[in-house]
Amino acid sequence: MRSTIALKLMMAVSGIIFIGFVLLHMYGNLKAFSGHDAYNDYAHHLRTFGEPMLPYGGLLWVIRVVLVLSLVVHVYAAVTLWRRAKRARTVKYVVKKNKHSTYASHLMRWGGVTLLLFIVWHLLNFTIGKVNVDGGPTNDPYNLLVDSFSVWWLTLIYLVAMAMLGAHLHHGIWSSMQTLGLTNSVRERALAKRIGLVLALIITIGFSLVPVFVLAGVIDK
């Protein structure tokens, strides 16, 4: 099934998986407010979850595999749909107004690209490369976090990324419900849009708290 709608269904499903992950991830990040040990315990717990049935880090690997697959699907579908949309209108309007749609809905694609760049950077930063821009050690997750966000421009990058994420989700959440065919009336549509807005705000604000509070010095080593 290569139909535009099948592609969209794939996007919606992978997108919802992402949402599940970011919610979990955000919960984890917020542990930073409970201090060094609570946060590191959580990071450790993530890796020992399910032991001895799963090896050390097993759950994390399951998550990683699912995430990577979702990412491939999500990006593949995004690129395919983008290309089809481009081909559907090769001659542009001289004047075109979009007045009944949200900015968020028009931002999806470039927002997605931003998110992709962010994720690459983010993984280099915290997982794969473990770069400590402050030059400190990288083996202590909590300290790495605090070191990183003490740097103003890094925090700024994150905040911009979170704004993008918020926009992506503001449209993406209701859009995925529409894609799944769950919004068959005015009421359901309004509800879906409200859920989208609320969830997007929660996620954006939830993620932004840690970097902001680190920069502000509230969270420190």
């Binding site: 749909l81 209108r89 009944h100």
Partner: protein
């Protein structure tokens, strides 16, 4: 009133087009937009310039033949068809940009006329209920609950004008498609072919080269018949069910 018109002119599909500027004067507010163009055409004709080609037939908002992009809005600033748009929606001295529907599956034939036969081919791919003439049971054999009948009617009002495609940033015909899927899917008569219909029509939609819907919602705002976004959700749902059932 006096207006400056910037109008797309193109000799035929193969030629390149360009915007041309015309000044018109003594336009009355009571004129419809197309009557305003009639007046311009009458003048062009007398000046020896070929009149501007644009489509219209019923001029009462029901046949779906007319359709212009006016100042970047499909059918102009009102929720109506181009033929039912009146000059009182504009102000004296205004500059109005007029372009044809832009979508590659709707090639420009000349000036402001486009070819929308892609819509017919979509209907051919399944937008009907298979019943031969004379084979129908009595009309009262199958009652249709009023809610279903009303919803079917609400979406069956689509006039196939193509404004949804013209307005959609993705050049998607999902609103048109969803309206037909919902109309027929809402009725008991339409059930037998429901799965194959949605699968085939979506395939044809894509084959024609329309873009995919990303739920932006410009289409419904441009739709003169106010077809709601529900129909796209319904379309997606029907496709999902059809896929699940192995179509």
């Amino acid at each position: 009133m006096k207006l400056t018109l910037k109008i797309w002119r193109q000799a035929d599909t193969a030629s390149d087009g360009a915007m041309h500027t015309y000044e018109v004067d003594e336009i009355s507010e009571d004129m419809s937009f197309l009557e305003m163009l009639d007046v311009l055409n009458e003048r062009l004709n007398s000046e020896g310039e070929e009149p501007i080609a644009f489509d219209s037939d019923c001029r009462e908002g029901i046949c779906g033949m007319c359709g212009l992009m006016i100042n970047g809005e499909a059918h102009g600033p009102q929720v109506t068809t181009t033929c039912q748009l009146h000059m009182r929606s504009f102000s004296d001295g205004e500059t109005i940009t007029i372009e044809p529907w832009r979508a590659d599956p709707f090639p420009v034939l000349k000036d402001l006329c486009v070819d929308r036969s892609a819509f017919d081919r979509m209907i051919q791919s399944g937008g009907y209920i298979s019943v031969n003439t004379g084979a129908a049971p009595d009309a009262h054999a199958t009652p249709v609950p009023k809610d279903n009948a009303d919803r079917a009617f609400d979406v069956a009002t689509c006039i196939g004008c193509g404004a949804c495609v013209a307005a959609c940033p993705n050049g998607s015909a999902s609103l048109f498609l969803g309206a037909k899927i919902t109309h027929l899917g809402e009725l008991p008569q339409g059930q037998a072919e429901r799965d194959s219909r949605v699968v085939n029509m979506v395939a044809q939609h894509d084959h024609e080269g329309f873009g995919g819907c990303t739920n932006i919602g410009e289409c419904t705002a441009a739709c003169p018949k106010e077809i709601p976004l529900d129909v796209i959700s319904q379309l997606n749902k029907d496709l999902r069910h059809a896929i699940r059932r192995g179509y």
